[in-house]
Symmetry: C2
Subunit: 212 residues, 2 copies
């Protein structure tokens, strides 16, 4: 879709192949309504999940209500593995979501695959760190849109499963700033908004340049 992989290509596209890992064997499939908790902070880490349809957010709340969304997980992606025995974050379904659920035992027999997933999780968190630590609001949104469109298959048209609040808490901004940046990108025709959740990337190159 976009430019072929260049030496300095920063998308995680090459790495996404490892997200295709299928851990075989029988497993549950569970459905969660929008907003429903999948696991809580403090819960035992004894399962691993794969999104079948829908989307998931993994977050932490501070005492005063500030929230950080640490990651989003889309169809095909796995989550729920963490260091230690207890979850340090909680996970919620964003939209109505179906998840494949793996027990701890079957996962332990696949520590090689799990290693790749953990390394991918680390890479994602580190890329995210760079975005939040050193980029301004427009750059953050651009990085977010590029990442999302890549993970959704490189389509120009992206249907956002998450709200402005989710995006804001993911990018370390406020909803108002997210909204203003969207407007600015629309005014520059970098994107088009069919409705608030349906984004068309009109100038992928401009968007990529904004990410650095």
């Amino acid at each position: 879709m976009f430019a072929a992989t260049r030496p300095a290509d920063r998308s995680l596209a090459e790495l996404d192949t490892v997200a295709d890992i299928r851990i075989p064997g029988p497993h549950l499939v569970a459905t969660y309504k929008a907003g429903k908790e999948i696991y809580a902070e403090g819960d035992n880490v004894d399962k691993c999940y794969q999104v079948v349809v829908g989307a998931v957010r993994v977050c932490r709340l501070l005492a005063d209500g500030r929230r950080q969304v640490v990651s989003f997980h889309l169809a095909g992606e796995m989550f729920g593995f963490e260091a230690g025995n207890k979850h340090r974050f909680f996970a919620e379904a964003i939209t109505e979501t179906r998840l494949g659920v793996f027990g701890r035992r079957p996962m332990q027999e696949h520590s090689r695959e799990l290693l790749d997933l953990a390394l991918l999780g680390m890479a994602r968190a580190q890329e995210h760190l760079l975005v939040i630590g050193r980029q301004c609001a427009v750059e953050r949104m651009a990085a977010f849109l590029m990442d999302l469109s890549g993970r959704l298959g490189g389509l120009r048209q992206v249907k956002l499963p998450m709200s402005r609040q989710d995006i804001a808490d993911y990018l370390g901004l406020t909803i108002e700033t997210v909204s203003r940046v969207m407007t600015k990108l629309r005014e520059r025709s970098v994107i088009a908004l069919h409705d608030a959740r349906t984004i068309e990337i009109r100038k992928p190159d401009a968007l990529r340049q904004l990410c650095n």
Copy 2:
């Protein structure tokens, strides 16, 4: 040293035990002078390192010179594993540093241990994300000092191996802001500065509260 582990304890102390993993077998030991590159962005990922003495920073530069320090690694800690074949970040010795070097083969025989390290790396990056995404300058410094003191053995007196610039680039701030926050914490007697790099934590509880 500080309070015993509470239910909601957010330090990564419990997890640090996994950082004690020793991958046995013969390996090189290499010495790097302060500022020396250990691996570059784009280099093949074919080694893994353990800090014997000294300290390491792992970073990325943006085109315009902005830098994000993604992680620091202190004595005993391992680094150098990444998703994919190429390093997406570069690593440098902060002070004169001695590293144990492991080849790819010996590491692959320890994917179980490597999994724990990757999960710890992911956890650290995610905690860092929360700090940078949702906390103000004082809170960031407090979180940094708590983390560092914990990793250095929970001592009250901390000798910083890194410069203000390193700290600023780690926390998504500027050197001036880091300096001002240090001064403010000193004025409140939360810390004492024997010299710019030697910090005594005078009020650990106050510091912990600042982290949320």
